[in-house]
Symmetry: C2
Subunit: 436 residues, 2 copies
C-alpha cells in the first residue's frame, strides 16, 4: 500500500465533494489501486466560514506555503479562475507535485504552457473534471480510443444552458424567467454570463480540441453565441419541424493535423440524433472517429458528486494509468465556421396574426424567387405569430432577401445552423429531390 498526501485548494462545491468522496470510498480505492489518499491541508479564503464537512475544519489554512509543506505528493486545485489558481499550480509543479484540477478556464487559456511545465518537472497534470463533469470523456479519448482518428466532436457541454433550454421548451416560459428560477435553484450563478453567453462551453471545446485534434486554438478566437436571444416560440416550432435547439459546441478537423473549425452556439439537432434527447442538467459528447464510427457519452456535467468523481478518478489514475504523451502543438489553423451552405432554420416573429394558409403563401413566395424552402411551421405567440422554416443551402445574403420579400413587420429574425447538414449532403439531397 502506498500513502499519498493530498493538498486541497478550495472547499467549495468541488472541494467538499472531493473531500467527502475520498473518505466515503477510501476502501474501494484502496482495494482497487492499492493507494491511500490522505488530505493533509485545505486552502480556503475565509477560515471562519462554517464548512459542511466538519472533520475538514482542523485542516484549513489560508497560506498556500503551508499546503506545500504538509507532506503532499498531489495538489487538487478547486478554486477556479486564472489567478491565484495558476500560480499555485506552477508552484506545486516546482515542488514536485502532480496536479489535478477542475478549472476549465485556466486549462483552456493556459493548458499548453501548464502541460509543458509539468512535463519539464517530471510531474503530471490531469483535468477530467474540467469537461463534462462526471463524464469520463478525456479518459476515453486518451486511453480508450488510441487507435482511432477522431474527426468530429459535438457536445452539450454546459448544464445551466441545457437546463434553461429544456425548461423553456417544455413549459413555454421565456428566458429571463427560467434564468431567475434556475438561479434560485442553484443551477445558475448570480452572474450567469459565463454560462448563458457560451464562454464556459467554449473553454471546454478548446480543451477537447486540444486532446482530440491535437489543435491549439486561442479560446478568444472560437466563434461564440449564447442563448439569451432564444424565445420559447422558436423552440416550439423547431420541435414541430422535427428538431431540438441545443447550445452546441462543435468541432471538426479536416484531415490529420489539418485545419479545424470550432464554434459554440445554438443549433438544431434532428430529433433522431443521440444528443437531441439529452435534457436538463445533463451533458453529453458525441465523438465521430474513423474506426469506431460514433460514440456518445452522457452524464451529469456538474454538481458536487459527479465533479468529485472525475477528480478522484484522476487521483487514482496518476498512479494507475500511463502519463499523457501529449505534446502541445503549435497554433492550428482555424477555419471560419461554415456560414453558408447546409440547412438553416429561420424563425421570425411578427405582430400580425397569421395562419397555416399565410405560412403556405409565404413559402410559395420565397420558392418563387428561388429560395430552397423546406418544412414550414407557424404558431401563436404573445402579441402575434411566430413563423419558422428550413432553408436548404443557406447564404447569409438571404437575410436581407427574406426581410424584403416577406414584407412583414418583423420583430425578430434568427437563423440557426442545422447540425449534420453539410453542403455536400445537401447537394445530394437536393438533386434527389429535384428528380421527384
Amino acid at each position: 500500500m502506498e500513502r499519498i498526501g493530498v493538498g486541497l485548494l478550495g472547499m467549495g462545491t468541488v472541494g467538499t465533494g472531493v473531500f467527502k468522496a475520498l473518505k466515503s470510498n477510501q476502501d474501494v480505492i484502496l482495494k482497487r489501486t492499492d493507494t491511500l489518499f490522505e488530505v493533509k491541508k485545505i486552502l480556503v479564503q475565509d477560515p471562519d466560514k462554517k464548512r459542511q464537512a466538519e472533520d475538514a475544519q482542523s485542516l484549513l489554512t489560508t497560506d498556500f506555503q503551508q499546503v506545500l509543506e504538509a507532506g503532499i505528493q498531489v495538489v487538487v486545485e478547486a478554486i477556479g479562475g486564472l489567478e491565484p489558481a495558476r500560480s499555485f499550480i506552477e508552484r506545486a509543479f516546482e515542488a514536485g507535485c502532480h496536479v489535478v484540477t477542475a478549472n476549465k478556464e485556466l486549462l483552456a487559456k493556459h493548458g499548453s504552457e501548464l502541460e509543458r511545465l509539468a512535463r519539464s518537472r517530471g510531474v503530471q497534470l490531469l483535468y477530467e473534471a474540467s469537461v463534462g463533469g462526471g463524464i469520463p470523456v478525456l479518459g476515453t479519448m486518451r486511453h480508450l480510443l488510441k487507435s482511432n482518428r477522431i474527426h468530429r466532436i459535438t457536445g452539450i457541454l454546459n448544464g445551466t444552458t441545457n437546463y434553461i433550454l429544456t425548461e423553456m421548451a417544455s413549459k413555454g416560459t421565456p428566458f429571463d424567467e427560467v434564468l431567475a428560477e434556475a438561479q434560485k435553484l442553484g443551477y445558475a450563478e448570480a452572474d450567469p454570463t459565463s454560462d448563458v453567453d457560451g464562454f464556459d462551453a467554449a473553454y471546454k471545446l478548446a480543451i477537447l480540441a486540444r486532446l482530440s485534434f491535437d489543435a491549439e486554438v486561442p479560446v478568444t478566437e472560437i466563434p461564440r453565441e449564447g442563448i439569451r436571444e432564444i424565445t420559447p416560440g422558436e423552440l416550439v416550432l423547431a420541435r414541430r419541424l422535427g428538431y431540438a435547439v441545443k447550445l452546441l459546441a462543435r468541432g471538426e478537423q479536416y484531415g490529420e493535423k489539418g485545419p479545424v473549425s470550432l464554434a459554440v452556439g445554438p443549433a438544431l439537432l434532428p430529433l433522431t440524433h443521440s444528443l437531441s434527447s439529452v435534457d436538463g442538467i445533463y451533458n453529453a459528447i458525441h465523438l465521430e472517429a474513423d474506426v469506431v464510427q460514433d460514440i456518445t457519452l452522457v452524464g451529469q456535467g456538474a454538481g458536487e458528486e459527479p465533479t468529485a468523481s472525475a477528480v478522484v478518478e484522476d487521483l487514482c489514475n496518476l498512479y494507475c494509468l500511463p502519463p499523457s504523451k501529449f505534446i502541445p502543438s503549435e497554433e492550428t489553423l482555424l477555419l471560419p465556421s461554415q456560414h453558408s451552405g447546409g440547412s438553416r432554420f429561420i424563425y421570425l416573429e411578427t405582430a400580425q396574426h397569421l395562419d397555416e394558409g399565410d405560412a403556405e403563401g409565404l413559402k410559395r413566395r420565397l420558392q418563387a424567387i428561388g429560395l430552397p424552402v423546406g418544412e414550414t411551421g407557424i404558431s401563436r405567440v404573445t402579441d402575434g405569430s411566430g413563423v419558422a422554416f428550413i432553408l436548404r443551402r443557406w447564404d447569409p445574403l438571404y437575410r436581407g432577401v427574406l426581410l424584403a420579400e416577406l414584407g412583414l413587420e418583423v420583430s425578430c429574425l434568427t437563423d440557426r445552423p442545422v447540425h449534420g447538414s453539410s453542403t455536400v449532403e445537401e447537394a445530394v439531397r437536393l438533386e434527389a429531390g429535384s428528380a421527384v
Copy 2:
C-alpha cells in the same frame, strides 16, 4: 518501437475488420503506442473462399499450430462459439500469448476459468468487443470508474432486437415481417434465436455483472425473455402512455459483495430515460454508481468497423494499460428478479371493438375492486382492439383477477415491468397521489 506479431483466428466480419483497421490505422497506432502490430497468420476454415482483404490471402492457414509457430505474441480470436475457440485460446495461453477476443458466449460461460488460466500463465485476456461492439464499456468500468461502486446496470445490448423493435414501433409492422427484412439486410442471422430470444443479451449481461459487481452467475440462471411475443399494437400504446419498449438487460447489486438480480427481457422505459431514444442498431449501457451518479454510453453494438475498433483498442491496451487485477469470485447469490411490486404495463388484445369510453369503464371497474390502475390507452388493431394500462404495485396474481374482471375475449395478455419503478418509489408516489 516494439514489433508485435498477431495471430488472427477467423476472417469473417470481425477478423476482416481487424485486419483492415490494423493496416489503415497503423500510423496512428504506432505514433500513440510506439507499437507495430503485424498479422503473421490467419486461421480460417475454408482456405479457398474469396476474401475481401486480398493481401490476407498469403497469410491464410487451416492449421492452428502454424499460427502459434508464426512468431506471435498475441492471438485475436474471432471465430465465435465454444469449440474450437476455447481450446485455441487455452493453447495460446500455454504458448505464452495474450488473447483478445470478441466471443461473448465463451466469455459468459467460461470467462472465469479462462481469466484464471491466463493469470497462471502470466498473460492477459481482453474482450472489449464482446459487449456493446465499439462502445468502450469494459474499459470505462475497469479504468475510468475505479473509485466508484457501480450498483446498477441497464443495457440495450443487442442491436438486432433493437433494430426490430424500432422498425415495429415506427412502421407498425409485425415481428415476423420485420425479422425477415432484417435478415435480408444482414441485421439478423439466418437462425435468429440467439438474438431474438435474448441469449446474446444474457451473455453480455453475465460479462458486465462479473466486471461491475464482481458477481459470478451461470448464464443459464439469468431469467430471460425474448421479443417474439411483442406486437406493434403494444409498442404504439406504450408510447402513447409515455414509454418505449426495449429489450433490456438489467442488473442490480444489493450492497457491496452482496446478492445480485439479473434479468433480460422486454421492459418499459419512460421516454425521459436516456436509453429510451437509443434506436435502430445502436446499443447503450446506463451505469449507476455512488459518486458519479449515472453515465450512459451509446454506440454501434456490432458491425465490422465498430467491433474491429474494440479489438484493436484491446491490442493497444495489452501494452499501454495495466493488466486487470480481476480475481474471479465464487458463485454469487442470485436473487429472483422482482416479479411483484413496481409498476407494470398490461396490454391485451380483444376481437371486440372498444372505444375510449369502454377503456374508461374498464379502468373504473378495475379500480373498484382495488387495483391501482394508472394511465390507460386504447387503439384499433387488426381484428379488434388493443387495450393498455399501467398497474402500479404489481402482483402476479392480478393476471387471473384481470382476466376474470374484464370479462373480455382476450387473444393475448402481456405484462411488462416498468423500469425504475421500485416498490419504495411507488409507495411514495401512491401516498402522494392518495392525498390529492
